[in-house]
Symmetry: C3
Amino acid sequence: MFAELWNNVHTKTPLIHAITNYVTVNDCANALLACGASPIMADDVGEVAEITALCAGTVLNIGTLNQRTIEAMHLAAETANRLEHPLVLDPVGVGASVLRTQTAEALLAKHRFTVIRGNASEIKTLALGSGNTQGVDASLADQITEANLPQAIAFIRAFSQKTGAIIAVSGAIDIVSDAEHSFSIKNGHAAMSKITGTGCMSSCLMAAYLAANLQQPLLATAAATVLMGLAGEYAAKISTATGSMHCHILDALSYIDAEKLEVGAKIEED
Amino acid sequence: MFAELWNNVHTKTPLIHAITNYVTVNDCANALLACGASPIMADDVGEVAEITALCAGTVLNIGTLNQRTIEAMHLAAETANRLEHPLVLDPVGVGASVLRTQTAEALLAKHRFTVIRGNASEIKTLALGSGNTQGVDASLADQITEANLPQAIAFIRAFSQKTGAIIAVSGAIDIVSDAEHSFSIKNGHAAMSKITGTGCMSSCLMAAYLAANLQQPLLATAAATVLMGLAGEYAAKISTATGSMHCHILDALSYIDAEKLEVGAKIEED
Amino acid sequence: MFAELWNNVHTKTPLIHAITNYVTVNDCANALLACGASPIMADDVGEVAEITALCAGTVLNIGTLNQRTIEAMHLAAETANRLEHPLVLDPVGVGASVLRTQTAEALLAKHRFTVIRGNASEIKTLALGSGNTQGVDASLADQITEANLPQAIAFIRAFSQKTGAIIAVSGAIDIVSDAEHSFSIKNGHAAMSKITGTGCMSSCLMAAYLAANLQQPLLATAAATVLMGLAGEYAAKISTATGSMHCHILDALSYIDAEKLEVGAKIEED
């Protein structure tokens, strides 16, 4: 199943447009190259519409947003919607400021997103208008566990129903769900949370997988989630600490082939 | 002594707000995670006050400053002061342009900084209104050596007296001083100067240590200085050249535990 | 030949000003340090003229350009021209948007560049006003091969004649040429194209080599091209995949000494 999706990314080399924060933008570009796609970053209103149109998929990430880039995000989203290109929202730190919350809400109100990917606190904030966001990491109270998995899935499905987007929630257990079908994914490693950018990279991988697999958006989102998690598992095995972990995650994203992705997936349909 | 400070960072996981240059911002975020803290970067005036208020400490770094971020820095500083949160200034390249010098001077004139951290040229420029800044690295003439250590300490104490801030000067010998007590620290390795961002990371570590150790700002600043230097020493032992050094410094920041910090410190009170 | 150029960089430690994209700016700074130069990044119109004047060479890279930085680029270029400092243009993704194309054309129309460095698609776009730009990577149709090398060189010489700049084209075969003399360089490794920033770093190395070797701009550009290619070769030998390749390229840039550069060069004058 995932092997085919992997092959499509590597055959089509989709060009992905990311308007993303300057903290992890280099990792995003390298993750896209490593997974078989190609990145372009552009955030000036004078060019975003053209760049989005040139690309096969777009990611909007609101970390380090500003007035100038917010305007660019709306223009990119409008273009992606008009051309029916996959569009991913990564609402980094939503809830940490009114600006982030209002920006994410305005983006959701005006445009159709193919996928919304965030940690549990970010998704909860978007869904409830509140949440418990502490900076850019999920608060402990919001973590998805085996115990609250059924409730979490019901909650996520309702949010998918409301937005029309696939919802991808990162955490110890990752959930990828639309309004009817849900996957829980247990790939990944705790050490990933000690490196900035694993969420941002994951959103970019999703855009690449969506762009190369237009007919199967839910599976494409799940495949990208598995890929990121597997990369963390591989990296954790050979890393001393966070610096080498960072390096090895990027190694693993290019090292994991179709078969490794297929065999390594720890995924269940719920 | 330092073991306790280390434990406080790891127990409290302080959230640190950095308005910092886009050259080394990824290293700053990863250094904060590696040392046990948590980073958030935000530089739009529409959200900085909220983000600063949410955080336990703030770093203002003037590398790649612009008119938009200068305004954000003032707002963040004002908020940190009002809430009595630790506030660190890293005057990268001050003296290299009138804009950097005037910005640093205006920040110092309007706000109280807990720590000002820079290389010898940067601190000299701030203290004398002149200095000998050559880009972002300290000029040779400004280096602190065994020979000029007593004069350097007297100079730094006077600047601390004037500003009310702890002064941290990076170099072959690091000095951490307030108006009355001074530490000279001989941790570190010459190869650190061949990697961009060791100074910026050091300022972030200081904010984390200050935020988790509010009652002991001078010791917290010294501990962060020792941690950065020790990380450089560990990294230099196993690195081929600058690329792996970069990676291993981040490894070491998470690898160094309370005991290693305590035992590894090469610090003297002057 | 190249040993002398290498020595001049390491003896003079030229300070290089880069206005460059935020995707690969950290790699650019670390590449400059690794090759023996020193970086400073600054993009606010309030300081770029001073920073350019303080530096020995300047790089303008139009990846992630915006209205604010475009203005800064013109000011930096004007200053570099007035002081007769080496000036390098890296037209990242020119042709991918009207904004990038018009910005590159305006920069070329108003200022004298010492070197223009891009991939084949970017150079073709600049020379013909069209091209075949797909994002930031060269399209297959534009690649320089053994078969089309003579035509490529004739084309590049004509563009050099028209602009007065040395033209450096990156690809499987790199070309460095002015209107009369051309070098083809076969250093490098295919894996370099799977890491973002090798082109941007190469432009920065060129600025460093030009600044330290003012009398020999063509050879300086060739030496920087060889250095980047050799770094890729060294790195590819010991790298598992793209994450470690990234790290090892920076290692190699500092590891390659004068002799290794001299001996490793696979260069022919055409």
